[in-house]
Symmetry: C2
Amino acid sequence: MNIVIDAFGGDNAPLEVLKGASQAQKDFNIDITLVGDEKTIKKCATDNGVDISKLIIKHADTVIDVCEEPTNVIKSKKDCSMAVGMKMLSDGEGDAFVSAGSTGALVVGATFIVKRQKGIKRPALATILPTAGNPVMLLDSGANADCRPEMLVQFAIMGSAYMNKILRVESPKVCLANIGAEESKGRDLELETYIQLKSAPVNFIGNIEARQIPMGDCDVVVTDGFSGNLLLKLYEGMAKFFAGELKGILTKDFKSKLAAFMVLGNVKEFRKKVDYSEYGGAPLLGTAKPVIKAHGSSNAKAFYNAIRQAKQFTETKVIDEISSAIESMKEA
Amino acid sequence: MNIVIDAFGGDNAPLEVLKGASQAQKDFNIDITLVGDEKTIKKCATDNGVDISKLIIKHADTVIDVCEEPTNVIKSKKDCSMAVGMKMLSDGEGDAFVSAGSTGALVVGATFIVKRQKGIKRPALATILPTAGNPVMLLDSGANADCRPEMLVQFAIMGSAYMNKILRVESPKVCLANIGAEESKGRDLELETYIQLKSAPVNFIGNIEARQIPMGDCDVVVTDGFSGNLLLKLYEGMAKFFAGELKGILTKDFKSKLAAFMVLGNVKEFRKKVDYSEYGGAPLLGTAKPVIKAHGSSNAKAFYNAIRQAKQFTETKVIDEISSAIESMKEA
């Protein structure tokens, strides 16, 4: 197996990418290809004492910036690390791709270079969120601002397959994000999606109000990419807000700091629970081969986990599972 | 001034309504009218020792349930406490209305009984959220699932007027909730709204990603009622999730409990900061007279604060301010 990783994606590239990839190669005993400027990669490794002798390097001249037009990845920036890495997948030289670079460019590249799996209308960005209970997968969390009902149904199928194969959730509970629990709630998109989900090959349990998402009441929440992106980012923002408040509570004065020392273990446990890097990255579901979007601020640990996730994604054949479900719908 | 309150709205009605109203009447020296079944109100007051001797009672036969079709408030349930209370406003017998009952029914009633202010396309539910900085107003947080750009522009005007007059924010910073900061981000709704907001009589500072909302970077966030409702409810859900986690951190074992005792004051301060009841309720902006939606689980303190808010809303003439801004746009 060859996991291809964009060595120049994210705020901490390439150093943290190299560190994570080097460790992952040792632990998982797989091929890992770093894509990007060869000289810079080698110099960075040498300067920081990172052993990349077992990693493969695939040279790419440029890097696509997060501020650039996403479509550049298939136009003026065909030679960027992201495009070159994805081309390896479509050429059969790699099995999965990981990047912490521009989400927009990754979606465009995945759609037009890696290509969609047969029957899938749009790939969706699927994010796994911590909750008071089990983690929940939210999709689409930002790939498609405008969606049609049949796309949301496919998201439900893809999310269920992933949660079942990778997180080993038996018959994942699927909900539709909505402004009320009743079937009559929502916009035309939700009304029609609700009807279609009832007969889809997923364990659809109804609408979910956003209030319930952090309670861990279900395993997969489907919504359009605009709403999903608002939800995902508010989730992150609230986590940051509360982490700040918690810090305030535990550092206000000498007594608070003493108390902080006494609950340090519990705080660490909480931090681990809400730490995105534990979950690796967000899989882009619906592409012909696994593509993982790592968080823009990923550190070595996050890249390491994203590579593990890419490996699992490949091994468990989630994509075949999705294909079967899509086929079964056509036959029905 | 006569503040009219639905004595039968919310999970804790009528007792908590009576308690809050009784205290508010004493402190604010205004007329307060309780709307609902007279016998039940009197019995509840007597049974619980609440002094309602200075409050006016307006009898209403029935109550509209949160599960009912919202339009019932203007059809089969014209005699419910919510409808009767709002009728008082349109008949000039009251100055503002407060209810913790069905949001849907309140929106319908406010639109068709109290009626919209001149020039306003749709009333919006405006919620004030705590942040790491100053509180932010989010609207529409649930009155209109589908919105057009000109409606969002009006929401910006209404939110600005409210934040300026009631929370005394000088030139409130207005943002459009979006999936990216750049002007080119979002759906057609956001693209067109962005253009219109640039020339609207508000201090528009651009798009805001949901991640930044809890940071308190701006004063007013506008969005459609579907997105706004998801954001509002996730805000609530995350607050609950973290309150639970905080409790876990501080009660896990004996040492944690001891630490909890040491930071009790700080925790209380944090709780107060994120406690919705401190802010009263959510004003419905765009109606001919002030209408406040109190939280469904409001206690006496929340009703008390909602009444204070209704009083301020009336005194500060927010509605006139909104009218002037709408007029100025027509002239421009």
